[in-house]
């Protein structure tokens, strides 16, 4: 018991010593050394060493620390050093596998002890292996040997196991502490080196972490103050850059409240960042193991550059939008200059425009340059030594003048520059898409230096946008001038311009057009609205003609009436052209409308006059034909009178045959009708309205007309012969007018032959058709012929070769023929006399098959 007590006390001491020393040890090796030494010295082992796991190859290797009771064990140590034990192999392997202590009474005789020979040589007999475990994992195996062969002593094993357990605990704790320290170091390193600001605060709003990036961003280190003061102290603003960030909405405050905060933008301004910076903040609550909120963490990213780039882009877009909206060029350029100046500290810019003469400049925009300077430059000439801008425009290359006080290009402007405080001026020509110089963009600085890459980038953007603006303005100018010219031409030509967009049922019309069509200047126009002005009688035809031309992509032309408000009408000619895209879709119809009311009125008057003349001509022809008419009428009248008289006489005698009486009455009726026909014929010739056209057989008309004048032919002792082409096609014409033509030609022929002996007074009327599309009539006489030098003069008004003639006949003949779309010409026949040739357009498919009777 005493011994037991002593042993127990000894073991307690050992445990205490080892615990203290192990705890004090700085690393595993020195801790092991303590354990090996103490165990050997206090419990009678001659050799103690340790095996640690080689994690690379998963074997146990001997560690450096060891204890040796005497010097003769070096050989075994060397062998052990060369040994590597896999799981289950040898004493260390057995312990590794079982994680239990192993006692070997005689290692020299153990089948699973590869070092038995060395042990024998060293005189070692008993061995023990003890596992060192940390959180159930094998860290190392302790191995002790003694020279005596000794059976397993449970008490000893327990002590060593306890020591090993203690060692394991200490090692585990130490390792954990080391790991924590390292993690902390890494964390600190991350926090110190990361670009994003990280701020952690506890529930009481005390800052726990305020990394260097946070200090850079917010200007001050972590300090204890109420959250209500954070916005003020750290210069935190809403994105409007003015309103202080409400403290209860601060991302950190919210995250401490337990909210997740994502991508909140904040503007920050403090003494170290007077221009302010932009940050984007993400926040999360810090939770304890139970899920209770311990505080909050926010990560703030500096997005100043992104934001500025964004603003710059937005600024560019605004300028481009101004260009697109046709804002005045000076406004556009001023906005552009201000935008560029806002991109760099101390930067001033200007834009000069090159006049269209290509030799002089004029002021474009320079909102921050002294007015005196602007005035001095305005109107200056460009040239090879004319400041930065004049030279840049002249050479078409960028000109960098780092110091205007010394640069020879600035000789003429040096004093002015000095007064205005300008030192450096870099100018770049603004070019059009075609490469023409439009102007220049210049940057000014008060210090003498050349441009930075960022400034060059700005110049590139500025010249590009300015080029677009100036070029567009020039094009607009040209367009406006052209439009003005066209409008002027249109106004003076009484033309209305219009554009129709049938797809959208939209339309545009010039002011003149609106006046012509009776639309108010601000009334929105549609195709339908324009069509509605066309006279109802002609609307369908106009629409059909328009649709047809659209379908054929052709041109559109129509003469029609407009019916305007209050019932006014106007005669117009509309001409248009359809424009289509590459796929053949109708885009628009552009065109003009010409007011022809005046001409139309004149035309109608002229037509009326012509009809009047034609009528007089017919009446006068009637006068010449009285013999024929008298004869034609007298014949039936004579027959009627005779028959009536005969009937009366038969009746007086009282012996009349009823059949004879009936015959007489019948003849009288027939002759009355015949007389009526003659009168009707005369009336139709003298009637004024003569415009009804019909399909006419010219051969028949000629035969009838010759019969009409037969009496006159007899009295004039003249003959009319006809040679009629049975294949003559029909024509579409007015009967009376064609008769009038024939009568005029026959009468003229007869007049021309008055001085000839009766036997020679002949007229030959011939019809003829070549290809069936023209019907030709020729009237030939044997008279004196036409004036030799100008045979066509006979068709002129008031030209006459006859003493009593009015000179109207042939002029009327020609106007009638031309109104029928035909022609008439006069020629002298080869032997003698004149030949009048009338050609009328034939109606296709209407050929005469039977010769006229």
């Amino acid at each position: 018991m005493e011994q037991d007590h002593d042993q127990s006390q000894e073991q307690l001491d050992l445990l205490q010593t080892i615990t203290m020393e192990v705890t004090a040890a700085t690393d595993l090796a020195s801790a092991l050394e303590v354990v090996l030494r103490e165990v050997c010295e206090k419990t009678g082992w001659v050799l103690g060493h340790a095996w640690a796991r080689n994690l690379d190859v998963d074997v146990l290797d001997l560690v450096a620390a060891w204890y040796c009771g005497d010097g003769e064990l070096k050989g075994f140590r060397t062998v052990s050093e060369r040994s590597h034990f896999e799981r289950g192999i040898g004493l260390p392997g057995r312990v590794w596998e079982s994680k239990q202590p192993a006692w070997v009474e005689d290692v020299t005789n153990d089948p699973n002890f590869p070092r038995s020979a060395a042990a024998r040589t060293a005189g070692l007999r008993t061995g023990i292996g003890i596992p060192i475990l940390s959180r159930g994992k094998l860290i190392a195996v302790l191995e002790f040997f003694m020279r005596e062969s000794r059976s397993q002593n449970e008490q000893l094993v327990k002590v060593i196991v306890a020591v090993a357990a203690q060692l394991g605990l200490v090692i585990g704790r130490k390792k954990a502490r080391e790991e924590l320290a390292r993690t902390n170091e890494i964390l600190q390193s991350i926090l110190s080196n990361m670009g994003d600001a990280v701020i952690v605060a506890d529930k009481d709003n005390r800052f726990l972490v305020f990394n260097p990036a946070a200090e850079r961003m917010f200007g001050k280190g972590a300090m204890t103050m109420p959250t209500t003061e954070w916005a003020h102290r750290y210069g935190l603003y809403l994105p409007d850059k003015i309103t202080p960030f409400p403290h209860d909405q601060l991302p950190l405050t919210r995250s401490i409240r337990g909210e997740a905060v994502d991508n909140v933008e904040m503007f920050v301004r403090h003494e170290k960042a007077p221009h302010g910076l932009w940050t984007e903040i993400t926040g999360r609550p810090l939770c304890g193991p139970n899920g209770d909120v311990l505080g909050g963490v926010i990560v703030c990213r500096d997005i100043t550059q992104i934001k500025e780039e964004e603003f710059f882009r937005a600024g560019q877009s605004r300028v481009l939008e101004m260009i697109a909206a046709d804002a005045p060029l000076t406004d556009v350029l001023a906005s552009l200059v201000l935008l560029m100046e806002g991109q760099a500290e101390g930067l001033r810019c200007s834009i000069l425009l090159l006049n269209r003469d290509g030799k002089h400049v004029r002021h474009g925009a320079a909102p921050n340059l002294p007015e005196a300077y602007v005035k001095a430059v305005n109107g200056a000439a460009i040239g090879p030594r004319n400041g930065s801008c004049g030279t840049a425009m002249y050479t078409r290359r960028p000109v960098v003048v780092s110091d205007v006080l010394t640069d020879p290009l600035w000789t003429d402007y040096r004093e002015l520059a000095k007064i205005c405080g300008l030192r450096a001026c870099w100018s770049t020509p603004i070019l059009s898409a075609q490469g023409d110089v439009l102007g220049s963009f210049a940057m000014y600085r008060e210090e003498n230096r050349g441009p930075l890459p960022e400034e060059n980038r700005l110049t590139q953007i500025a010249t590009h946008i300015a080029g677009i603006a100036i070029e567009r303005q020039r094009q607009q100018e040209i367009l406006r001038e052209r439009e003005a010219r066209i409008n002027l031409a249109a106004e003076s030509a009484d033309l209305a311009f219009w554009i129709l967009y049938p797809e959208q049922n939209a339309a545009w019309m010039s002011e003149k057009g609106r006046l012509m069509y009776g639309f108010d200047s601000n009334l929105p126009l549609t195709c339908d609205l324009i069509l509605s002005r066309v006279h109802p009688d002609e609307r369908a035809d106009v629409k059909a003609a328009y649709d047809r031309s659209c379908a054929l992509s052709g041109t559109f032309e129509s003469e029609h009436r407009l019916l305007l408000p209050y019932g006014r009408t106007r005669w117009v000619i509309m001409r248009g052209r359809c424009l289509k895209d590459e796929e053949g879709n109708l885009l628009e119809t552009i065109g003009v409308t010409l007011d022809v009311s005046a001409q139309k009125q004149a035309d109608l008057q002229l037509q009326h006059q012509r009809e009047e003349m034609a009528h007089r001509n017919r009446v006068s022809l009637m006068g010449e034909m009285t013999a024929s008419f008298a004869h034609e009428l007298n014949q039936p009248l004579t027959a009627i009178a005779n028959n009536a008289s005969a009937a009366r006489r038969f009746l007086e005698r009282g012996n009349i045959d009823p059949a004879l009486l009936q015959q007489l009455l019948q003849d009288m009726v027939a002759d009355s009708q015949r007389a009526g026909e003659v009168i009707r014929g005369i009336r139709s010739l003298v009637r004024k309205e003569t415009s009804v056209r019909a399909l006419l057989d010219l051969n028949g008309v000629i035969t009838d007309t010759v019969r009409l004048v037969s009496s006159d032919l007899l009295s004039r002792e003249s003959v009319v012969a006809t040679e009629l082409d049975p294949q003559l096609p029909h024509v579409n014409a007015t009967l009376v007018q064609i008769q009038q033509v024939l009568l005029n030609l026959i009468m003229n022929g007869l007049d021309a032959m008055e001085g000839l002996p009766p036997v020679e007074r002949r007229i030959i009327i011939r019809t003829h058709s070549d290809k069936g599309d023209v019907a030709e009539i020729s009237v030939r006489d044997f008279g004196m012929g036409l004036p030799k030098d100008q045979p066509d003069k006979v068709f002129d008004h008031f030209f006459s070769t006859k003493q009593k003639g009015m000179g109207m006949g042939l002029a009327i003949v020609r106007s009638i023929i031309e109104a029928h779309g035909g022609t008439i010409m006069g020629e002298n026949a080869s032997d003698r006399g004149a030949r009048m040739i009338v050609r009328l357009p034939a109606v296709r498919g209407q050929t005469q098959t039977i010769a006229a009777a």
């Binding site: 014949q635 004579t638 027959a639 009627i640 009178a641 005779n642 005969a646 015949r674």
Partner: protein, 130 residues
């Protein structure tokens, strides 16, 4: 008025190219009991006059093909004793003068007075009978 039997025996020739006029004169003369021989063409009449005795002829002087004056001239040659009554639809003083010079006994404008015409025919017949 002459004796009806006397006139009946004598024939009156009528020449006119207008069928209805020719026919109506035929009826008119027939209604007074004259014997009528009608000719539509002047040539036919001249042929007839060459072969027969013609006492009286009533002729239009503006017929187609052969003018009435020509008929008169040739009739003078063929049958100088024939009494000629001219009817015309057209007033033409020159033609009238020429006709009277050749020798017609009467000249009528169409349409004419039936009584005067018939008495002229009757007179002509009676003169021719003498």
């Amino acid at each position: 008025m002459s004796d009806a039997g006397e006139t009946e025996a004598k024939e009156v020739c009528v020449v006119d190219d207008d069928p209805s006029v020719l026919k109506s004169i035929h009826y008119l003369l027939a209604s007074e009991g004259f014997k009528v021989r009608a000719f539509n063409k002047a040539e036919d009449f001249l042929t007839h006059a060459g072969n027969h005795h013609v006492s009286v002829v009533v002729t239009d002087i503006w017929m187609d093909q052969v003018t009435g004056l020509e008929v008169l001239a040739r009739l003078c040659a063929v049958s100088p004793k024939t009494r000629v009554i001219v009817i015309t639809a057209r007033e033409d003083l020159a033609a009238r003068a020429t006709a009277m010079a050749i020798g017609p006994v009467a000249f009528f404008m169409k349409p004419f007075d039936d009584e005067k015409f018939i008495s002229a025919v009757r007179d002509a017949l009676s003169q021719s009978a003498k």
